[in-house]
Amino acid sequence: MPTITIDGVAHEFEAKQALLQFCLDRGIEVPHFCYHPAMSVPANCRQCLVEVGMTEVDRETRQVKFGEDGKPIVRFLPKLQTSCSQEIADGMVVRTHRTSDLVARAQKDTLELLLINHPLDCPICDQAGHCPLQIQAYKYGPEGSRFEFEKTHKPKRIELGPRVMLDGERCINCTRCVRFTGEVSKSHQLTIIERGVRNYPMTPPGVVFDEPYSMNVIDICPVGALTSVDFRFKARVWEMSKTASITVSNAKGSNCWYWVKDNRVLKVTPRDNEQVNRYWLPDEDRLDYERFNDGRLSGPVVDGRPSSWDAAYAAAAEVLGSVEPASILFLGSAHASVEDNWLLSRLATHLGAPAPVYIPHVDPGHGDGWLRTDDRTPNARGCEALGILPIDADSVRKRLSSGAVKAVYVLEEDPIASGVFSADDLGSAPVIVHAWHTDNRTLAAAKVGLPAAMVVETIGTFVNEDGRAQRVRPAKAIKGVNRTLMMEVGKSRHDLHGTPFDRWYDETNLVDCQPGWVSLPAVAARCGLELSYRGPKDILAEIAGSNEAFRGVSYEAMGESGVRLQETAQTA
């Protein structure tokens, strides 16, 4: 097996790859700015320099030569090499800053050069706290500045586009953003203009940086030069906790982090998943978070008046018991998790009502074949795998007007706003709705409104367009005590720096709502169906045991990056 020695430790490898990536894969930290695994390697930041040498081999015998001290003779290249562009080779010997004073000195000098014109405005910079330049300046940089002159003043507060703000002075010209628009999104909307000390990234005249993936440059920017117009100055990174979850504004189920402060979602950033979205996230996913915070329905409603949870559950059960079961329309939801839809199906089966249907939200032409899809719901595929099929709106309207449907049970949907039926079509048929928002139009016509937890507050499984089942984890807490949720919150909310600003017990901005796997069993219990699970994990275990499509799917199997439903599910 070919071997490479890094800082005196031998590492075996199989395929050739870049030295920097090889080190990063093995947890050997090598400081760098411009290198990004998904893009080309310009080697322009000069921060990943290492000493590279080869063991000397006798040309005749092909044997490694040994010196008088008994160690192999290593011939080092006369100059330091950028590890991002250096391919590994058998017999290579590498010294990083840990073992080479030369490398440590070079990295220190590089940082000194980068910092010459970099404003020291970390106290007001959004990037501070997770800024590679800040971190590396502390770890490897010089202690002070020897630069006595006025720093270069470049344009600041430039809106490159509607969502991305540029601070030219902070830029270190790593060209990650330019390469992103050139190689990944291929919009070619950015370039580095001018040269030398004057250069910075910019759109050419007459071009607006408005591509649907523009905000990715904010994440890959190694300094605070590119910031989010939306998120600027809202919170420091150490005040927020972040939770690994998925986005729900389309059927791709891109992996993301939800950043939460005081139980409000403030920011959504991509989470690496090679199988789904790699390092990227479309802007629509990032800006689709305010609905988690604002306009929420808090506390149940019966007949338009606030009610207690017990009374609301009882009222719902009374409605379900007052009409003949075959005339109850159960509406599942492609916005709700697999578990909640399953419980709804079980309730419908128990009562003897027809199987639930769901309302598709397909917007033809919206998808781009990458991370945006025509389908604007996160779980249509999961519904279909459960046997919940798309609604036939015409026949539903007919059955409503003919009186064949006498009650409607809606799970996390708004059929009136979706145009499935109108409030007039409903007539006197009572409606029970699990609703997120107060502006839910079905809620206005409903007898019972049960506030539902949204994706950032619940535990559950969503199946994306490609049949990948992925977990969501609670990012913010809800009102009331739910031990399952609280345990999960304690595990899923990473405090980036361990500061106490946003512990999970923060009690501000709590919404009085319940996840479907709490409220549906409560309604079912009052209808005579005992749905006793210890939590959504058990529900999924039951689904996996009884539904062929979900065989082998469990919370452990999904883990951080999800698992594909079996091939049988795809052909079904």
């Binding site: 050139g182 005249p205 007459g206």
Partner: protein, 224 residues
């Protein structure tokens, strides 16, 4: 550059300027397109041809407003942003309207020592404009530039990205400006290295005839 050290301010270019070249003039002729196609064919990828193509565009339109850069990029077949980055990198591509004659006076190290600033200030006084400005009649623009690689004959200057005028004196500048007023460009002078004297008649350029073979004068004649 000296000013930049005192006031290191980088201005933001206009984000969305009005087009300077009217739409009915904004095109390349078939012959120009063919020339650009030839440039493109010389390189493995189209990017390589952008510099020569921008040069052609500058010769045609006089300078490179954004719409001309976009036209050139489209003709070459590379992204507009990339072409714009290239155009802003090189000071020889004019991003603003220049005078008919652009006088690039070198004030870099060797020329500065040999009186480059004297030459620059003489020109400024003679034409009544500051460096970076254009005379009201649109004939002359003075620029202060960095090293043009003719230190052996400092102080020197370049006329409109073309011929060099070397071993400048105030009289020589007066003559030059008068000649340019009458529309006479200074002759191309080839700087010859001793080892090239015999080859090609001392002319190191293959694309222009040698009109005046330059011989380095004794030092005592240039430094007064």
């Amino acid at each position: 550059m000296a000013d930049f050290i005192k006031h290191p301010v980088v201005e933001l270019p206009e984000r969305d300027p009005e087009p300077s070249v009217p739409a009915d003039r904004l095109f390349f002729s078939e012959e120009e397109k063919a020339r650009i196609a030839t440039y493109v064919s010389r390189y493995p990828t189209a990017d390589g041809a952008i510099m020569r193509a921008l040069w052609l565009a500058q010769e045609k339109f006089g300078w490179l407003p954004p719409e001309v850069i976009r036209l050139t990029a489209d003709t070459v077949g590379i992204p507009y942003s990339q072409a714009y980055g290239v155009a802003t990198f090189y000071s020889q591509y004019y991003k603003r309207k220049m005078g008919t004659h652009v006088l690039d006076v070198c004030t870099c190290f060797s020329c500065q020592v040999c009186g480059g600033y004297d030459m620059l200030h003489h020109l400024e006084k003679k034409l009544g404009i500051r460096k970076g400005e254009t005379t009201p009649d649109g004939r002359f623009t003075i620029q202060e530039v960095e090293c043009l690689g003719a230190c052996g004959s400092a102080p020197m200057m370049q006329v409109t990205n073309g011929p060099y005028v070397m071993n400048l004196t105030e009289e020589k500048l007066d003559t030059l400006v008068d000649a340019l007023q009458e529309g006479r460009m200074p002759p191309f002078a080839s700087v010859t290295l001793p080892q090239d004297q015999d080859e090609m008649g001392g002319n190191r350029r293959s694309d222009a005839p040698s009109q005046e073979i330059y011989q380095a004068p004794p030092v005592s004649q240039t430094i007064r």
